[in-house]
């Protein structure tokens, strides 16, 4: 029997998607369905003074904060965000009311009048009165490190917000229980158990009266990590009040206006370095804009600061991070989750340092790249699977980097690289707190995987089935993966943080190991015949050697890291300053590629999004409102904007990952932006901000 792991087995989720038979939430309907619409604030800060309904309200269900039976919050971390505004308004598009009606035309034309008392909005995170979270990381003695430096080099780097732009907008359908004391919510989402928890708090229902079912999801990228709790809450409230199913699907303009974005920020570096390029001290300041409510800002900041010093060794490090409140729609999860922002800064800074010191940028990185046995900024000792130098060397070799750099000098082309890494799984004690569970069931129908992890395009079902099949010793085709329905699967934690394979996959693998032991010599079918069905459930177990201090922010931040290097060649049009990424090579060390094609797919997709963030995607904010909230004006790459990519996979197994696998979903988006900016530097443009739109390239002038 052929092993499944390491092979491009047929995807479990493939056929329906290409046939048009996959049912996304907008494809579904229920008898007696009402449509819903969210009435949102049009001011960025202030208070609601009055609400009136100067239209025929017959047939309408109108939901306000007074209709909330439980607590008026979207339960997540800080519990500061209301489901529906009561009086205070903190951002444009803040939800105030939900309307529901059978007739979509009447719904759309319903003219709700809201009078406001305007307040004074603040859009500057550095001037904000409210800090959602601050984190300090200290290693060694910064002053001593600076004193040992031959040169101290400073820099300030800016990263813009980014819209996830999943092609399927947010949407849910809520179906009330007959007795009005329960609800089922179907929808596009990454984390059914996040939604489940949020609904129990909002509605005051016990957990077994709330059921959440993920429908086929047309892209997430983090944009459907926490936001679905909000839209699910809105639909559920309307459904319970109307006692009818309610469908709430956003159109594109509303989705872009109102839902979360990547945190924009400013990162400052002050670095001590010897003349021959050894880092002696790193002083880093990270300032992120969280928007109006905390949502996941604390965790974004956490990952951001933990990656802020890059894949480099340095004995003396000080990192200070803050994420601040502003009167804009709350920012949230987007692939990379803080790491793209801070690694943009450190990689552009490294390039500038190389230039200033007259050193080769590859040698500077190689000199300082983390090696097995080195410690990170939090004092984590890296194991044998630390591959920073390997990916760097591979990328440099494949692209003939040194020769290309010489050849392109003085032309309108440039070549640049970035070296980056990405911790897999939740930070430090995060996985322990999540206490994820996974189950494996054996019935007369076969082997069934039961997890709360979701398929959102990355191939979750395929990959988990491969791991189970090989561990159990059964054919891949005989392993099925259950739908992510909270009434049927355990809470495996959210489908985020590049953890689904490494963490959840490992729990499942342990289930399969246990099951295999119990099967003994029996085939699954014979076992069931003799002993009846079997369900094995296991919970996350922290590897004993992982030690993390949440207060001091010291120790083993992540179980394992992936390592990667991007090289990109760009061409700048001298007449228009348009930047064309001509060629890209990306080397990723990911422990083990469970399904090589799916892994490469993650790298290609994440890289394309990183290129978009670097060159095209700008969230234009005017008076706290996204002014370019349309596909026409928010620019993501088309086929003609995306270069050919050479993707190289390396494997250095991680002991506690299934078959050695680490995470791969997010790391690819960390690399392209700094590689592009570094290539532009080579072409003569000193940029320190993204997106590097033609307008910005023009403004910075060629040297």
């Amino acid at each position: 029997m052929l092993k499944a792991v390491g092979r491009n087995v047929p995807r479990k989720e493939g056929r329906d998607k290409v046939s048009g038979t996959s049912r996304y939430i907008d494809d579904l309907s229920f008898p007696g369905l009402l449509h819903a619409r969210t009435i949102r604030s049009t001011i960025p800060a202030g208070a609601i003074a009055d609400i009136s309904f100067p239209f025929d309200t017959s047939g309408f269900t109108i939901v306000g904060f007074n209709d909330i039976p439980g607590r008026n919050i979207i339960a997540l971390i800080d519990d500061d965000q209301p489901c529906l505004a009561e009086r205070a308004i903190r951002h444009v598009a803040e939800p105030i009311l939900i309307l529901a009606h059978e007739d979509r035309d009447r719904l759309r034309t319903a003219d709700v009048r809201i009078a406001y008392r305007g307040g004074t909005p603040n859009y500057d995170p550095s001037a904000s009165p409210l800090c959602f979270k601050s984190i300090a990381i200290d290693k060694g003695d910064l002053d001593a490190g600076m004193a040992a430096a031959d040169e101290i080099i400073e820099g300030e780097y800016r990263v813009g917000a980014q819209e996830q732009l999943y092609i399927e907008p947010n949407g849910v359908i809520a179906v009330p229980a007959d007795d009005g004391q329960g609800v089922t919510v179907y929808g596009s989402m990454q984390c059914p158990y996040y939604v489940h928890r949020a609904l129990t708090v909002l509605l005051g229902f016990p957990g077994d009266r709330v059921r959440v079912v993920q429908t086929e999801t047309g892209g997430g990228f983090g944009g459907k990590e926490e936001y679905p709790s909000m839209i699910a809450g809105h639909a559920a409230l309307a459904a319970l009040k109307a006692r009818r199913p309610v469908k709430l699907v956003y159109d594109r303009g509303e989705d872009m206006l109102a839902t979360t974005k990547r945190h924009p920020g400013v990162i400052r570096h002050r670095t001590g370095v010897t003349r021959d390029g050894r880092l002696t001290a790193m002083d880093i300041d990270v300032l992120l804009d969280g928007g109006a409510y905390a949502t996941l800002s604390a965790v974004v900041l956490s990952r951001g600061v933990l990656h802020a010093s890059g894949p480099y060794r340095c004995d003396h490090v000080r990192i200070r991070g803050r994420v601040m409140m502003t009167n804009t729609p709350p920012n949230g999860a987007f692939r990379g989750f803080g790491a793209p922002q801070t690694q943009f800064a450190v990689e552009v800074h490294m390039e500038r340092m190389a230039e200033q010191l007259g050193l080769d940028p590859v040698k500077l990185r190689d000199r300082n790249a983390l090696r097995p046995g080195d410690t990170t900024a939090t004092g984590q000792t890296l194991g044998a699977d630390c591959s920073a130098r390997e990916v760097l060397r591979e990328a440099v070799k494949r692209t003939d980097f040194a020769r290309r750099r010489k050849a392109l000098a003085g032309t309108n082309r440039g070549i640049g690289l970035s070296l980056f890494f990405h911790g897999s799984g939740f930070t430090g004690s995060g996985e322990v707190k999540l206490a994820s569970k996974a189950s494996l069931a054996l019935t007369d129908a076969g082997v069934r995987v039961l997890v709360g992890s979701t398929e959102i395009g990355q191939g979750t079902r395929t990959m988990l089935a491969q791991i189970v099949a090989d561990t159990l010793g059964v054919p891949y085709d005989t392993v099925e993966v259950n739908a992510a329905d909270t009434s049927e699967v355990p809470d495996s934690g959210p489908t985020v943080a590049s953890r689904t394979c490494m963490v959840v996959g490992r729990i499942l693998q342990r289930c399969a190991e246990d099951m295999r032991a119990r099967l003994g010599r029996l085939s699954p079918r014979d076992y069931v015949k003799r002993h009846g069905p079997l369900v094995i459930t296991k919970q996350y177990e922290k590897p004993p050697e992982i030690v993390w201090d949440e207060v001091l922010y010291q120790g083993d931040a992540y179980g394992s890291y992936g390592w990667a290097c991007d090289v990109v060649e760009v061409e700048v049009d001298p007449a228009t300053w348009q930047v064309n990424p001509v060629k890209l090579t990306s080397v990723h060390e990911i422990g083990k590629a469970i399904h090589p094609r799916l892994a490469v797919g993650q790298i290609q997709g994440g890289t394309a999004q990183g290129l978009g963030w670097a060159l095209l995607e700008e969230v234009v904010m005017r008076d706290g409102r996204m002014a370019n909230n349309s596909f026409t004006n928010y620019i993501v790459p088309t086929t003609l904007d995306t270069p050919d990519m050479e993707i190289v996979l390396l494997e250095r197994p991680y002991r506690h990952g299934p078959f050695g696998a680490k995470g791969v979903g997010e790391m690819p988006i960390d690399g392209p932006a700094p590689a592009v900016i570094n290539a532009l530097r080579h072409a003569g443009y000193d940029l320190r901000e993204i997106p590097a739109t033609p307008e910005r390239v023009m403004a910075c002038g060629s040297r």
């Binding site: 449509h35 619409r37 979509r104 035309d105 719904l107 759309r108 034309t109 159109d251 303009g253 001298p574 007449a575 228009t576 300053w577 348009q578 095209l616 234009v620 002014a627 370019n628 026409t632 004006n633 620019i635 790459p637 088309t638 086929t639 003609l640 904007d641 033609p694 307008e695 023009m698 403004a699």
Partner: protein, 277 residues
């Protein structure tokens, strides 16, 4: 959610004559061709008007023919039709270049040249071509046809000379002598609205070039002073200064006035330097 269609009425004429009669007697009616602009407004809930005239079945508006050296293109010709037409390829290659830059294949299969003209966006991709080509627009009503020079067609931002009972039926392009040039600078390589879009004709020594440019003024514009400066043999740097005074670009959600100004100057230089002199 898309705007309602419940209150809209759609009239479908059986002939061009029927269409003109409807415009006169049953208006106001918004003519509907490929709908690639109209239905964006419908989807956004911003479509104005309740009466619509369905032009799509009117085959005569899809003609493409040369008469007395003048190429007549029916208003319903799509961008795909333009790109595939041997006549257009041979006689107005800059129009093929423009059509190629509109949206993507789906838009090209439906969007029409008449619609691009009628939509009256300052960023319309074919408009600088028609201006530089010295095109004439044919308008028809029950009172008969009239012809308007394309350069007289727009009166203000999104305003045309088309009367409420008139229909754009064709655009006429005379034979063009000399080198044709077109460049669109968009927000990305496809599916893009232009930041600057320029078309030009270099008719050769002794004749003034014709240069038209979009997205730098409330309408597409010809650049008579720039053309004269080039014809007079002024240094390109000086001509660029004349150009800069002739356009009034703005900052908007897509780009900046400064960027448009400098790119327009660069495009001018590119156009001029590609000619042999």
């Amino acid at each position: 959610m898309p705007g309602s269609v419940a209150d809209r009425r759609l009239l479908t004429p059986r002939s061009l004559r029927d269409a003109l009669r409807m415009l006169d007697a049953e208006g106001p009616l918004t003519p509907m061709a490929g709908c690639t602009d109209l239905y964006v407004a419908l989807n956004a809930g911003e479509l104005k008007g309740t009466g619509f005239l369905n032009l799509w079945p009117l085959e005569p508006l899809r003609h493409m023919a040369v008469r007395d050296g003048v190429l007549s293109i029916g208003a319903l010709c799509t961008y795909t039709d333009l790109m595939r037409s041997r006549l257009v390829q041979k006689r107005v290659p800059m129009l093929v270049a423009a059509a190629r830059e509109v949206g993507g294949p789906q838009i090209q299969n439906r969007g029409t040249i008449g619609g691009n003209i009628a939509n009256a966006s300052p960023a319309g991709d074919t408009l600088p071509v028609l201006a530089a080509a010295g095109a004439t627009i044919v308008l028809e009503s029950i009172r008969g046809p009239r012809r308007v020079l394309f350069t007289d067609f727009y009166t203000a931002y999104r305003r045309t000379v088309v009367g409420p009972d008139e229909l754009i039926t064709a655009v006429e392009i005379p034979a063009i002598k000399g080198r044709q040039w077109f460049r669109k600078v968009g927000t990305r390589a496809a599916q893009a609205i232009s930041k600057v879009v320029m078309a030009a004709v270099d008719a050769g020594p002794g004749e003034a070039p014709r240069i038209a440019i979009g997205s730098v003024a409330p309408t597409v514009v010809r650049l008579p002073r720039t053309e004269a400066a080039l014809a007079s043999g002024a240094a390109i740097v000086d001509v660029q200064r004349v150009l800069s005074d002739e356009i009034v670009p703005i900052d908007d959600v897509r780009s900046t006035a400064e960027y448009r100004r400098r790119v327009a100057a660069n495009l001018l230089a590119s156009f001029w330097s590609e000619g042999s002199r």
